[in-house]
């Protein structure tokens, strides 16, 4: 296959960016999209040209390190797929493909296609955990968790923190990410003690970095783990409750 790439090049956060055009010939359909970029980079370095910086690590859709906009879609055309799992067979010979970094105020550009997602760590730091010091845990089977509850918590916990939801959102909102993290813990019996404090703190840190959600639903479509936007509704419900709850009376029936 022969492909034309238009790739965003930007030397640093404060530098001006631009699109550069590359002709990539002799690509096999079995190659992954990132292997295609590897080959282009090998060729660029051999010619003495600056290679394209892009983030990646596991190359199997679980670490959440990779992620670019491909023809305007976060992680490209295939649903439920991270950039590293995308293969060239999804494109046609002769295609021109546009590749850009995640674009969001909460994710400043580091270089070319690489962005800074540490704002996600800040949201976790605010309360995305269950307080249990090492050694303080009771036997794991002491608290049964109904299978359905465990499965739903898992659906939320499947989030890989790649940031595609933010990149796809016209407002640059991080509600799907934050909702996934909050619901993973809020749904489990182990997460109840800190439920309200967690929700309040995480949502408020999210708002410091990211835009507001206006229910476009683009995030769900872009998510490589197909996390449902229902979680956003549940997060909003918990946030409202957190605001009105008298926490000193917690544990009593409402």
């Amino acid at each position: 296959m022969n492909i034309t790439l238009q790739v965003w090049k930007q030397e640093g956060p404060d530098r001006a960016g631009r699109f550069a055009t590359y002709q990539v010939d002799d690509i096999e359909p079995e190659m992954s999209f990132l292997e295609m970029l590897d080959i282009l980079n090998e060729r660029l370095v051999s010619q003495g040209d600056d290679p394209i910086s892009f983030d990646h690590d596991c190359r199997e859709g679980i670490c959440g390190t990779c992620g670019v906009m491909i023809d305007g879609q976060a992680h490209g055309p295939q649903l439920g797929t991270a950039t590293c799992q995308l293969h060239m067979r999804k494109f046609r010979d002769g295609d021109t493909i546009t590749v850009e970094p995640w674009r969001a105020a909460g994710f400043p550009i580091v270089r070319d296609l690489v962005v800074d997602r540490t704002s996600f760590d800040r949201i976790i730091e605010a309360g995305g955990y269950i307080t249990v010091d090492t050694g303080a845990a009771p036997d794991a089977n002491l608290i049964p968790v109904p299978k359905d509850v465990a499965e739903t918590a898992f659906d939320a916990a499947a989030c890989i923190g790649c940031g595609a939801c933010v990149a796809a959102c016209p407002n640059g909102a991080a509600n799907l990410f934050t909702a996934a993290k909050i619901n993973h813990l809020n749904l489990l019996p182990q997460g109840q003690a800190e439920r309200w404090a967690r929700t309040e703190a995480m949502v408020e840190v999210m708002e410091e970095y990211f835009g507001s959600c206006t229910n476009h639903g683009e995030c769900e479509k872009a998510c490589p783990k197909e996390i449902s936007i229902d979680f956003i509704a549940w997060m909003n419900r918990d946030y409202v409750k957190a605001k009105v709850k008298n926490r000193r009376l917690m544990g009593q029936k409402a």
């Binding site: 190659m31 190359r59 299978k147 916990a157």
Partner: protein
Amino acid sequence: MTINLDPRVPAGPLADKWENHKFSMRLVNPANKRKFKIIVVGTGLAGASAAASLGELGYEVEVFTFHDSPRRAHSIAAQGGINAAKNYHNDGDSVYRLFYDTIKGGDYRSREANVHRLAELSLNIIDQATAQGVPFAREYGGLLDNRSFGGAQVSRTFYARGQTGQQLLLGAYQALMRQVDRGSVKLHTRTEMLDLVVKDGRAVGIVTRDLVNGAISRHSGHAVVLATGGYANVFFLSTNAKASNATAIWRAHRRGAAFANPAFTQIHPTCIPASDEFQSKLTLMSESLRNDGRIWVPKRAGDNRPPNDIPMAERDYFLERMYPAFGNLVPRDVASRAAKRMVDAGHGVGPLQNGVYLDFANAIDRLGRNTIAERYDNLFQMYERITDEDPYQVPMRIYPAPHYTMGGLWVDYNLMTTIPGLYALGEANFSDHGANRLGASALMQGLADGYFVLPYTIGDYLAEYLNTDPVPTSHEAFGEVEAGVRERVSGYLNTNGTRTVDWFHRELGKIMLEHCGMARTESGLDKALAEIPALHEEFKADVRVLGESESFNQSLERAGRVDDFFELAQVMCLDAKNREESCGGHFREEYQTPEGEALRRDNEFAYVAAWDWTGDPGSPELIKEPLEFENVKLSTRSYK
């Protein structure tokens, strides 16, 4: 100076050693803990759990990762599960059985005391993770579910769909972020440790490079903990994440930390075969698939009919045939070699005839598609994305690939390396797995090390240094190391050669896979030992790294890692050559039984081979730690 390999195994009966040791170690009282600064490198399961636990205890912790977030460490990719001797299923499991299986699975090349402690701590790990909110699989009654895994006849593997590593790492990462929020842990992301600082024979700090702006900086502490993962990427093509590398442990080795059993590497039987030369990494298909999938090849060599057209009678279910007791669940090394033999004999399947089938048709008939989907759907989807084939319809194609490294920095019972004050945790150390690691045991070991071993043992070392300050970073010991780091970095940029870093890495990988992979011979290893230094010289003279050091520069990052792989590769080959026996993942063709099974030579080789740096990667000094077995009887592993 010959180093001291005292394993410091506590006295007493096996089952009491850890208890007794905890009591006899010195403690640091809570108010004094904040006077100690500990550097932790790595935020995988081992590093994140250690840093979080040390922070909880009140130590001042600084943690480093080259990733952009702690959650991205390679541990995230573990699929299958984590072992623990909970015996929730009443099927005869016990701490002793897990201990025994692990020693046996490791082909009797690990320390009894360490392995027993690991089995004991496995219980606490599951409790800890569950309390953190790790969503392990559950049964309808709401209690935890288990499955069986290679090398065991009981169901003791806890799992979280196909993402056990991600869920456990999220638990550890969240615990870590809680400490970051509390201020007890300071987190440095996108920061790579490039060297270790040793003063008066003790580890006192590290020198790092900020991967975003290239800044080189010094960090000092009372102790340094390396939890930097394994080195399977020396083979270029492996199941490891692309950035996994050996630089941290290799640099520590060059500063005096002995490197143990470097040749003990694991080739995982169930990976997707390479599809061509451009392949950038190999994808693992979880071993748990062997619970329900049956492995076979066509009986007739070169039979290239589509798999579903080959009648039952013309299929060779070779693992079930050769190992009737364990069948498809034999340990990894055994399964890998059997697959290699089949492919070498011309029975390989797929376009490049480089795989064997892993077939779910029987399981789907027996259990229904839904049950199979519930167990493996995400793995099936992963497979389909890569190969464009649907495993519900046609059998998967699999082939062994480098996956895990049992070798690593030598550590004593306290997880301290041969450099006082330097600890190694998780895959970065050599302990516990001997010559072969059983499935679902790496997660267990990383978390045992980080949550439950180091937080106790480190106090025993620190107690001696109460009311002493860390060595100031202005000290010349730091200056010298920093100068060396700067020289190395600018060296790559100034070489101005013609070949890319990846080209060299790929070539090195080919040599290693050919001569130091699944089967090794003396003549092959000699060949590798001639080719590797030559290629390394070429690398030094001809590598091309563009750009500058004061900015984000991914080729520059890789250059240093590959440079270190060249040196490590030589010690791996030397170790493989020295070990004139076959055991676990180390198979020397000269040493096999008439049936082609591994032939161990306990009289000569029941020892840990620790290599000490001499300044020349081609001639390190070998030091032996004899292994004593007081509880288990060394026997030939039999899975028939």
